[in-house]
Symmetry: C2
């Protein structure tokens, strides 16, 4: 078994240019060959398991020093650590991506402009992705698989804690791709070191999309340093609004699920807005249930006045725009539905917000006016997720409005081009006093 | 008739915030009310004609001094000048936008996640647009109409030469909107002065999309100064590649149409690539026809050697990446189809490129590999246009790959949100060993 030679002399620009070149070939690779490459990668991950786990052990050993020295959290170390079962799960995930429907080549629209002049709008890959990862080996194989499936090349920049593991994973991936004409090994590349980050983020015109996978701080740092489009979201400040006409038990169940089920998730609730008319019925059971789950409540003045006898932390203005990612929730009384919507549009992060109400008119108002990627009625914010939405695979969640919004599946890694099939037509013939008319006949 | 008070004391931030507020109302305005507002605006343009033409005469008088002083071109002055017929045409265009199908509220996908848990992906407005215009009064009413039709508010920044005209146009628009509850007058706003540009371009989170309408220099300046997404293209470097298997007459007709029919258009051809095998048949008639239309040809060394006896300007490397926008074309011999595609992907602007060939395999290779918004076979590059594509109205042409690519219709001013209609569901119920399964049933 030959290892892929890592060429330390290759510049980041050269690595990206070669990957971009490979993306041209990949763009026209038939679906069967892209899927075949993914199955070969999955097999190679199994075959290279010993080398990958050995490299990972070295990364983990080095990171343990960082944990001991307080430079790294134990949670991060746990994410970095691989074992045979986790690696087998990664290979399984690559096979699952191979089994998804092909996102490329779909004809999105066909128009007959005139006899012998047909316009086809066809889904195609973006070209070259740049993925910034932290200490997550599983993200390496997942992003590589999603890229190849969607006909895109990718340059990966792992966190420095995961460099040895990533090199070993790429050796396995390259061994699977080598010799495949339509899915070349250059299509999955890796760069290392801090300097590579700025170089890669400056390659407008070569890199088509940047994907940061990691903490809010990583996403923010990437967004601030590039003009290339970034797929991702920095914040997840989600709300549950409990309307005057809310069912008490449903409201409490939804808040508890949205806060407690997985508090670190971006779609967990951070602020609960409670209609003053509902407070007499709902505040006490809500606080009881939250207390039972060990949730700290930071409450506005009026809530604290109503809940005298309980020790609620006073909320400051900062609480309305804080993503706790922990068992903490902000709680505010609002006088009306309109105030709730205004609060959400002002302080939220346009991610996911829910209204709990039995009043269909209040629900329609909320769904129409809240400016977020997900706006829910009587359901937990935690449903905002590519798997739960049935998208097949989640590339990320976008709080931007352009291109892709909300949970993004493979389609988010595609664009389209207009292919015009003519027979010698000139525009002059369709212009002026004797202009030939267009037919503009939709063919679908 | 009362004039809209222009409040010079309002800051750009305040104007944008009010427009954003108006966008929330507009987002839920029924289509009939948005269309009604457009018809009222068209009527107001007719009713205010005298005031608008008087304001325009002042702008034109001031601009004539600039033309005399060499600070402005005559072509720009012609664009600035309005007359009764041109103004009536602008009103007609607003009525035409009203007649287009509604781009808002379409259900793009419906999925039953489970009994009583339905996910709807619904088209909705972006929110607030910022449009940067030069001395084009017709762009003011067109952008305002497209914005209102798509449920978006808009802040317009006209070129300083058109400020008086724009104020008069906005007075007419506001008189039509005043008193309409769902399409408030704040939804179409205007800012003036150089300082306003940077302020507006810095309003991330308030402005959702920037639309520059004007010269390449304007587009580039706007792109360089904002992190808000920009809809537009700076360059239009389009190619015609004449393959070995091209029909000579078709090739010459297409090149002449693409260069001569409207040389200033962004979809006009700038570089012709000619296969060496086709040169003996096609070079002479091509040069004859181009010369007959007064087109200057800048040719590569090999072309000049083949065309000895003709005085062709030698092409420098810069010519391959120059948008002439005039009766000039660059001409290069290429040895094979692959070289043509590589040249286009390297020097082009990813706008529109054509292959002329009778060989379907060459066409398929070209259409698959050229990385441009429009890739054509046997048709003029000039077909790349929203009207010719049948999009109804053209918001702009995008050479970016994200969100919208190529000619962009009203759909480019929309995004979508995911609306989840539940009945109290929590994620916990769908998690763990006794997880309820999702149904993920497509309802369309």
């Amino acid at each position: 078994m030959t290892m892929t030679p890592i060429e330390p002399a290759m510049t980041v620009e050269r690595i990206a240019a070669r990957a971009k070149g490979a993306s041209r070939t990949l763009a026209v690779a038939p679906a069967a060959e892209r899927d075949g490459a993914l199955l070969a990668i999955a097999a190679a991950l199994d075959a290279h398991a010993a080398a990958i786990l050995a490299a990972n052990a070295e990364d983990v050993a080095a990171a343990e020093g960082d944990v001991a020295g307080g430079r790294m959290t134990r949670a991060l170390l746990d994410r970095l650590r691989l074992d045979a079962a986790k690696l087998a799960g990664m290979a399984h995930q690559v096979r699952a991506v191979a089994a998804l429907p092909d996102p490329i080549g779909r004809v999105l629209a066909r128009t007959r402009l005139d006899e012998g002049l047909e316009l086809h709008k066809v889904a195609c890959p973006l070209g070259l992705l740049a993925a910034f990862l932290e200490a997550r080996p599983d993200a390496v194989t997942q992003i590589a698989a999603l890229a190849l499936k969607s006909g895109n090349a990718v340059v990966l920049k792992p966190g420095h804690e995961a460099e040895r593991t990533t090199r070993a994973l790429l050796a396995a991936i390259h061994s699977a791709l080598r010799g495949r004409a339509t899915t070349p090994a250059d299509a999955v590349a890796m760069v290392e070191g801090r300097a590579a980050v700025d170089t890669l983020l400056g390659l407008e015109g070569t890199v088509d999309l940047v994907i940061p996978r990691g903490s809010n701080a990583l996403v923010r740092a990437v967004q601030a340093r590039t003009r290339i489009p970034v797929l991702g979201h920095a914040d997840g400040i989600c709300h549950v609004y409990i309307d005057a006409a809310a069912d008490a038990r449903m409201a409490v169940d939804i808040v508890v699920d949205a806060k407690v089920q997985y508090p670190a998730a971006c779609n967990a609730v951070e602020t609960v807005l409670l209609h003053t008319d509902a407070a007499p019925r709902i505040l006490a059971p809500l606080l009881d249930r939250l207390a039972g789950h060990g949730v700290e409540v930071r409450a506005c003045e009026r809530t604290r006045a109503l809940a005298r006898g309980r020790s609620l932390t006073p909320a400051s203005d900062d609480d309305w725009s804080t993503e706790y990612g922990a068992l903490i929730v902000a709680l505010k009384l609002v006088g009306c539905l309109e105030d709730a919507v205004e609060h959400i549009n002002r302080y939220g992060s346009h991610h996911t917000d829910t209204i709990v109400t039995g009043d269909p008119r209040a629900a329609a108002y909320f769904l129409g006016r809240v400016d977020s990627a997900g706006v829910f009625h009587n359901a937990s914010t935690r449903f905002s997720d590519g798997y739960r939405y049935g998208l097949g695979a989640e590339v990320g969640i976008s709080t931007g409005k352009l291109h892709a919004r909300g949970p993004v599946g493979l389609v988010g890694l595609t664009t389209y081009k207009y292919l015009l099939h003519g027979s010698g037509q000139t525009v002059a013939a369709y212009t002026g006093p004797n202009a030939r008319p267009f037919r503009h006949e939709a063919l679908d």
